[in-house]
Subunit: 301 residues, 4 copies
């Protein structure tokens, strides 16, 4: 889970912050948008140059956002169709996935903290094949084409004493997967995206901080193989919500309100607080099943 | 856990809402305040008349608030001394507790929702004696004086289909305790009180709503025996936090800001959202141990 | 979970202990047997007289045993068809269930002990309607016929200080259901029945002891309304397994072996030990979903 | 947790199997025994040669067994004194531990299976320092001497698709600790040792199989640094218990009984079953705290 110093982990929200129109005409950024199911909007933000990356505060790469307004509800069919849509988008960014690959899926976060348990819970629901293929070969699967799938729940630094990058790097060197998929709970800027939006990206992920120091990011640069990140915003920083509520209610010229905003930003009492939905325990359980199903579908040949 | 339509379950905050000075001079209300440990403030709000109850939006009774600023921290000694202080205050409101009594402790809330698990978790840590006294008598305790202590975790209405009052009433009729202690997670108005304030009251408690319809309250009227309620605020309603931030930043005369406040109040997007601390899972575990210790101390003769 | 002093909670095993042929011709006992699905055997043991009850060590009543050899496996379709079969048998013993009834489902056992968590876990998965019917009437269900369904997880005496009977009795007096369904983990005599056999009975249940002292049984006598018990054996007493292995391997005449058996019975080292399957955590989760589905089907009109 | 094909993970029990007297006089084996607390017996089995290792079915190394009969009970003081004794024995086998070392503690097993959760639960309770030392240096600890302590919960092969050895090897190459401590739940042969005996060994450990194929053992040979294993037997194979009960009850010459034993060994019905104590959930929680305390003490300079 992100550290909340930044206001959003979603590239989509980053484009909104700089006003969408400006973002769309910015050099080095391309935005596509379409609907896949009724009410489900898919947005592709492509950050193509270093300059664009700097302006957006996000690394170069493709960011696909699937906004499914009813994802918080307990509708099995809806979840099944979203899983299929996510699988389709995932296949699009997984390099060369029509050939047999070895894929390591990493569940980031802390399984003992509800708002941060999405990664570990998702990994718990995956179809793992690597050990079976190594022991029995493809015969175990009637000779069908199969990806070799393994998974890892590295834990959080406060509990392991190690950076996630160190653990994942070591395991990759030893087991030599072709691709890494990383799953994490994100922070959003807007409560309306909580648990309703899935971001898929080929730009990797920064465990526990989001932006700034990229030394420890899980990405192609640091790991040497393609890294696909899947994230769902589960919390909104409490300070953000106050500042945003103020901004929403005032016009840009309103100097008085701006001052108010500034003071809100300083409001240290909200430090270490986050906003989340009342039934986050239930939502995390359901979302992790949907993400796992999406990955299971995307990784069956 | 409260329903967040109201802004606070704490009588202390209710007095603050009506400006403390006004509250102190109001007929039918008495407020005492003292410090028990360094930095720990104890406030007693006594609501004595129906009129005062109406103004305060809280039933007639005594509300003791123990504010312990470091209660969120993992300091074993601090928690031990707070447990002792809470035990002292509890003994004060438990009627006739120097004589042997039969006490039923009820843990309200939903153990599967972290922010609502305080009641059930506290009950898990209690010293239960009733079944031993019934089977072996006081010999089991070397003939010492002993209260007969039992406990119940009734669950929430969405899962049981029954009102908490129905369950507790039935069990009381069958097992005939002299006193009921009820534990619940509360909603506060101010984030600075989250997980740092304990309210002890002889006015009973309203599961799942706080104020208004008193038909289902757990109180002396409905249960026929004294009801002591212990609560700790674990969440703040997300709307409240925005409105409060605004109010804090503007003067009363500031019409413009008032309008803003009004619009914030309408902000339906924050519906069903709450603000809580990042490590609420850990905090709930620790607090429930401290509350259980306080009750265990208060109920040993 | 039973206390393991007795060797089985299954009436079916009790008939086997006295040799099936003898049991079948015993006055006051009737046994029927049929297959419902391939490999699934259903046995109905009817104990009709007090004398028969005494010989069998089980109260008068009907005991339906559904033996589904693959119930331990993770086969969704299989579990769905067993749930349907169980629903059919349940409907058979639920009195007058074609009319609208008020049904209280009670999950016995301790949710913190895996081998004893079946009751609470099953209750967690039920469709509860009572509170909705009371608030909105049948309109909430488009005017369809509906049973009023409530549920209770009373906890175990070591934690509540109260006997399960006291809690259930009190709640029944207050909420006045027409029927009680009770779910519990049982002890079997044979490991081959572990997690593969479901017993449905109208004879009620004895929490925590099985036989002998019937003072605290949950049954029509003690509760005043019909009590349907559903149980699945989750453990085998460790002593039983040794004695049974010996008996299996020796002929009745083999005096030497009999002596051995006797000494095994004395083997106090096995006290407080039980035999269970390696993946009992997983099995409990799956079985509780299957039982809940069976009850949900049986209770939809 | 071991695979139960073998009958014991305890070197002490292996010496008993070959009759203690024979073992003591065997070339390449040395056995020492003393009492540390009242009733607590410490046995050191040293396997010194390859031949001795072959006879014993355990790798060359020192195996310290601490038998604490009351370890199953909930006596805080007793657990504290056992933790101290375990710390003393641990310090003895941790190479060069008076100097500052980097130590990786690995919790083997599956946290979702109660009988196999000891390793992960123990690791959850450790004092982790590596990340603090790396970020702030020894200043964070007032300049005191400190070991750099990290931890890892690799998960089980059925869930990760990777062998534990691969994961641990990779993490060791990346983070370069000086010593590895590995914690695992073991299988014993005798129920009287369940949850009452701790084995500390410098011979490493074989995740998930115990003996035979040593390709995947976590040991100095495979990892390149000293490996200290800590284990507690949590289960006994159900077949073992039957065979042992028989053997106990018959004399060696009793051919008839031997045949019986043989047939018991074939008893496939007991496959995949284990014997464990009724309150294993509680016991695992308490034992993991005691082991963590022992490690925390042993690793404080």
């Amino acid at each position: 889970m992100k550290d909340y110093q930044i206001r959003t982990d979603l590239a989509l929200e980053a484009t909104e912050e700089m006003k969408r129109a400006d973002a769309e005409h910015m050099h080095g950024i391309a935005i596509e948008e379409y609907r896949c199911l009724e009410e489900v909007r898919v947005t592709k933000v492509m950050i193509k140059t270093r300059n664009a990356a700097k302006s957006m505060g996000k690394p170069v790469g493709t960011y696909i956002t699937v906004e499914a307004p009813s994802l918080q509800e307990d509708d099995e069919e809806y979840h099944a169709s979203i899983a299929k849509e996510l699988a389709r988008e995932l296949k699009d960014v997984l390099p060369d996935i029509h050939k047999e690959k070895s894929v390591l899926v990493v569940g980031l976060g802390n399984r003992d903290v509800t708002a941060d348990a999405l990664g570990p819970s998702t990994v718990d629901n995956l179809n793992i094949t690597r050990h079976i293929l190594r022991e029995y070969g493809k015969q175990a699967y009637s000779g069908r084409q199969m990806h070799s799938i393994s998974s890892l729940i590295p834990g959080v630094m406060a509990k392991t004493g190690m950076e996630t990058l160190e653990i994942v790097k070591g395991v990759i060197k030893e087991t030599k997967p072709d691709i890494v998929i990383v799953i994490d709970a994100l922070a959003a800027r807007s409560t309306k995206r909580l648990s309703r939006t899935v971001q898929i990206s080929d730009a990797g992920i920064q465990p526990g901080s989001g932006v700034g120091n990229h030394r420890d990011a899980l990405c192609k640069d640091s790991l040497g193989i393609p890294v696909i990140a899947i994230g769902v915003p589960m919390v909104v920083d409490a300070q953000t919500i106050v500042v945003d509520a103020l901004e929403e209610m005032t016009s840009a010229e309103d100097v008085h309100a701006r001052t108010i905003c500034y003071r809100a930003r300083e409001n240290s009492q909200l430090h270490n607080m986050y906003v989340t939905t009342k039934n986050i325990d239930e939502i995390t359980k359901r979302l992790s099943e949907t993400l796992a199903e999406a990955i299971n579908i995307a990784l069956s040949i």
